[in-house]
Amino acid sequence: MNKRRPYVRPMDGWWRKNPFFVEYMVHEGTALFVAAYAAILLTGLVRLSQGEAAWNAWLSALKNPWYVGFHLLALAAIAYHTYTWFKIMPRTMPPVVVGGQRLPAWAITGSGLAVAAAASAALLGLVWGLVR
């Protein structure tokens, strides 16, 4: 008789067992804020198509302190999501060779973050200019 009886350990709560996995779940979780914010903007677009009254109602709804609070929370979550997104980026790309040298991981992460910061600043500047 075969005396082997390999034991398979359960995977319940796997993501709580290692700080790396907790961090992974947090950065995946922040994607929900990206989706939620997209839904808010889409709602705005729908309200805009329904006429001026609907659009103004949506704008004043956004001034609710709860909504303002949510925006601050979403900003923090999306900033963290952006940071972790570019942190993992070097692992997801083919090697980038510049001048015969492979681009190091920090350079890829750094340029991603720089582009994200520049794009955010440009968008903020544009919107700021429009509302003034």
Binding site: R4, P6, Y7
Partner: protein, 251 residues
């Protein structure tokens, strides 16, 4: 030796398939010196405290890839992890996660061996050559394309670091994909179309959700996450190319 002998507690997850229903913890008090690895601690247990403790090891210098264990919950080669870094706290030692435990710290790695065979880990020549044509020549750039992926020692730490493999053991996983990639990007090899079938399959690269821990724990800096994710791109290209080429791409 005027210094007092230091004693560290090593907690080992024991499992004896003929006696135990499930694994259980056992704590040993092990005298140690600052130059002792966790592997040497476990060897001390086997030599002096409990000869029935089972574990794999061979080279003691991070070359053979046999002595992988979960040390305080992290996949590590026990030969290059030192007891002094845990003292005076207790160090927890367990068989590599996500694999069935055969006995104590020994895992069942049959599944990995099958996967390793399935990726055809050898050069499938691009063209038939005779001996008279001499050796293959490669430029440093061509060597650089695959060299890091050829450093894999099959220690399986990356599988113990991959929750997606833990949830679905059919996933071909980090090391096998890294080795598959190693041959696919070798300028001498012509077997890519055969291997891409595996990459594109249900067991293939899209099981990966870019956790990235596999590359963190790799003792040889293979970066298996990079191999897996590059092949997501290759797989997508393969899929769309079939619309452009009459016979190319995915099957």
């Amino acid at each position: 030796m005027s210094e007092k002998q230091k004693i560290i507690e090593i907690e080992v997850l024991r499992y004896h398939p003929e006696k135990d229903k499930e694994p259980h913890k056992q704590v040993f008090e092990v005298p140690f010196t600052d130059d002792m690895s966790v592997l040497q601690g476990v060897q001390y247990i086997k030599d002096y405290l409990d000869g029935s403790l089972s574990f794999r090891w061979s080279c003691r210098m991070a070359i053979c890839g046999s002595c992988g264990m979960m040390i305080n919950g992290e996949p590590s080669l026990s030969c290059q992890t030192f007891l002094r870094d845990y003292y005076p706290a207790r160090v927890r030692v367990e068989a590599l996660s996500h694999f069935p435990i055969e006995r104590d710290l020994v895992i069942n790695m049959e599944g990995f061996i099958e996967k390793l065979e399935s990726i055809q880990p050898y050069i499938i020549p691009r063209e038939t050559r005779t001996l008279a044509q001499g050796e293959y020549l490669q430029t440093p750039e061509q060597l650089d394309a695959y060299e890091q992926f050829s450093s894999c020692i099959n220690c399986l730490l990356c599988y113990a670091a991959c929750p997606q493999f833990g949830l679905n053991s059919n996933f071909i996983g980090p090391a096998a994909t890294a080795l598959l990639h190693r041959y696919n990007v070798d300028s001498r090899d012509g077997g890519k179309s055969q291997r891409m079938e595996l990459i594109n399959s249900e067991e293939g690269v899209f099981n990966c959700t870019a956790v990235g821990y596999c590359s963190e724990v790799c003792p040889k800096h293979v970066d298996p996450a990079n191999a897996v994710n590059q092949n997501k791109t290759n797989s997508a290209a393969d899929y769309f190319l079939r619309f452009l080429t009459p016979k190319g791409g995915a099957k």
